[in-house]
């Protein structure tokens, strides 16, 4: 593998890792703070991708579609939290698994009724359609760099939100000791709703910006959900920092595995997970 090829694979793996982080961050926050295991998290990714497709064909602009879609997804998240999830925070994990599995069925079928079962493509905006030439015949698409850039910005925003703002302080207090936070006058129900909507928002934005390169198809949420589980397990449940490092690690192993060891590439990530479990059964950064 020469340098240019190596650089391309490295950029691809970082981009994939960052995308996984956007999903895993929401999953790990929702678990860490509310104690809910959410199998339907992949559906929010799918929702984002379909929103990007249908809104961008409507508006003719992907940027506008992403902005409107993010707002719609957050409203959807708030409604879902209010209607269902808030009644399940103190329930058994088994109940949560079943609830969210039922929701996957409902979301998939509604998707089929509203948007159909066809595979769709989303066009890359003209401004980002260019490629950066690396050698005579190798180049790197600008859009992928743009994706990574968006993910990095959102990751920094998430970090600032949680560790530097008053809201973030309340979120951490609620995660640390729910009853105590409530006794101090923090509206914990509101905090939960905000965190849930944040998770839905992150997952759907990930789906939206991934839509032009991954295309939009039924059941696109399940595969990405499993990868997120692997990321969360490696990183340690509840740890956003762990999710970031694990997501980048999974991105590296998966991308370079496909190039260097194609015959067992599909298993490598799981082997990584098994190794981490042997070494640290509670993940690398258990909170």
């Amino acid at each position: 593998m020469d340098l240019a090829n190596f650089l391309i694979q490295l950029l691809n793996s970082v981009q994939y890792g960052l995308l996984l982080f956007m999903l895993a961050a929401g999953l790990t926050l929702i678990f860490g703070i509310m104690g809910v295991v959410n199998l339907a998290h992949g559906s929010f990714y799918m929702l984002g991708a379909y929103l990007a497709w249908s809104l961008s064909t409507q508006f003719g602009s992907l940027t506008l579609a992403i902005l409107v879609g993010a707002v719609l997804a957050i409203v959807f998240g708030l409604a879902l939290e209010w209607l269902l999830f808030r009644h399940f925070y103190k329930r058994d994990h088994l109940d949560q698994v079943l609830l969210t599995f039922g929701l996957i069925y409902i979301f998939e079928e509604l998707r089929s009724i509203i948007w159909g079962d066809d595979v769709h493509g989303v066009t890359i905006p003209d401004a980002l359609g260019a490629s950066i030439p690396l050698t005579d015949n190798l180049s790197y698409p600008v859009y992928r760099l743009f994706m990574s850039g968006v993910c990095v910005l959102l990751a920094i925003g998430l970090y600032l939100l949680i560790s530097k703002t008053r809201l973030g302080m309340k979120i951490r207090a609620g995660a640390f000791n729910r009853d105590m936070a409530e006794a101090l006058g923090i509206n914990i129900k509101l905090i939960h709703a905000v965190v849930f909507a944040l998770g839905v928002g992150l997952a759907s934005v990930a789906g939206m910006i991934a839509a032009p390169i991954a295309s939009v198809y039924p059941n696109m949420g399940s595969q990405v959900l499993i990868m997120c589980f692997v990321v969360v397990v490696i990183g340690g449940i509840g740890s956003v920092r762990g999710a970031l490092i694990a997501a980048l690690l999974v991105g590296l192993v998966d991308t370079f595995g496909k190039v260097l060891l194609p015959s067992i590439a599909g298993m490598l990530v799981y082997m990584l997970m098994a190794a981490v479990l042997l070494w640290k059964p509670e993940g690398l950064f258990k909170q």
């Binding site: 678990f31 609830l99 069925y105 409902i106 589980f229 969360v232 397990v233 298993m267």
Partner: protein, 337 residues
């Protein structure tokens, strides 16, 4: 799990009578039903064996596995690989071998997963099952996404003597029924054995069991391996009955379905798992068979009805049919006082 008492009691007299009646009904069913329904009930009994194997983990030991379908599918694949293109293969060595293959996979995966607890266990069992799923899905040699055909049902010849013929749908029905009874009896005995009591103890309080000197890791790994093997038995039967095996059988929808079956009937006593498997499979059949009303084909959207059913059930009756009956009976009892 939320219940803190171990599930070791003898089943109530009413339930025992109901189970006996159910057995009589199952034994007599092929004489009343058509071929189609005989095959459907055979499939239900296979799923009941599968559900009981999960109940050993979920209801008895308190381990919620979201990847149990992997062991079910593996044994089916084992049968598919062992059956040659042009002839049948003997039941007597392929059945144990397929069950052992599932058991071995459960032993290896279990070695990693039983170290984890609660939510980790759910996620990790699911992730490993998906690993197995993609292994078969991605490799053309292993059948790929299309799956494999099993052209011949396993033969039963013993030194030239053929005791029964599984090609006959009725024989397969009674063969499955016999195995269902055998597995039920075996698991009930297990529940009453010191081993079963240790598992129940782990469910109620794992730390206390460890403090009392039980090797919790070994007990959980044994339970996981055993559950995987019994799931393999069900998977082998599935392969033999349908003659076709594909990666979907190992997917996480299948794993979630079997969790639903155990929940639906009530956990921890194996009888509930059987009832749940029959109820769930029947519901699936009803939802898929819904009529066309106007321009809307209700049956085509079975996932929507199943999803709504699951969400409503888990919201309003999280302890299944038996739990709902218990609640109702308690309310009636207090009303009389």
């Amino acid at each position: 799990m939320s219940t803190t008492t171990a599930n070791l009691g003898v089943l109530p007299r009413g339930v025992q009578v109901a189970l006996a009646l159910g057995l009589v009904a199952l034994a007599a069913f092929p004489f009343a039903g058509t071929d189609f329904y005989t095959q459907m009930v055979t499939r239900m009994m296979i799923m009941a064996i599968f559900a009981m194997s999960l109940d050993l983990l979920q209801g008895v030991t308190g381990l919620v596995s979201l990847g149990h379908a992997a062991y079910f599918g593996l044994a089916g694949y084992a049968l598919a690989f062992l059956t040659p293109q042009g002839e049948a293969v003997s039941l007597w060595w392929t059945l144990p071998l397929a069950v052992m293959a599932s058991g071995l996979a459960a032993l290896v995966i279990g070695f990693f997963v039983v170290r984890t607890h609660g939510i980790y266990f759910i996620m990790v069992t699911m992730a490993f099952a998906q690993m197995v799923f993609y292994l078969f899905f991605d490799n053309k040699v292993l059948g790929g996404s299309d799956g494999l055909y099993i052209n011949f049902k396993p033969g039963t010849a013993l030194f030239g003597w053929v005791p029964f013929d599984l090609d006959n749908k009725l024989t397969l029905y009674y063969f499955t029924l016999a195995l269902l009874l055998g597995v039920y009896a075996f698991l009930r005995c297990l529940l009453w054995s010191p081993f079963g009591r240790a598992l129940a103890g782990i469910r109620v309080n794992e730390h206390r069991m460890r403090a009392m000197g039980y090797g919790v890791f070994g007990y959980k790994l044994t339970a996981f391996t055993l559950a995987g093997s019994v799931a393999g038995l069900a998977g082998y039967l599935w392969g033999a009955q349908t003659g076709y095996i594909n990666p979907e059988l190992m997917g996480f929808h299948m794993s979630a379905h079997v969790i639903m079956m155990v929940i639906l009937g009530g956990m921890g006593n194996f009888a509930g798992a059987i009832v749940g498997a029959f109820a769930f499979e029947y519901l699936l059949y009803v939802f898929k068979d819904l009529p066309q009303i106007g321009a809307v084909n209700l049956g085509k959207h079975w996932q929507l009805w199943m999803g709504l059913f699951i969400v409503l059930l888990v919201t309003f009756a999280p302890r299944g049919i038996l739990g709902l009956a218990n609640k109702f009976m308690k309310r009636k009892a207090t009303g009389h006082e």
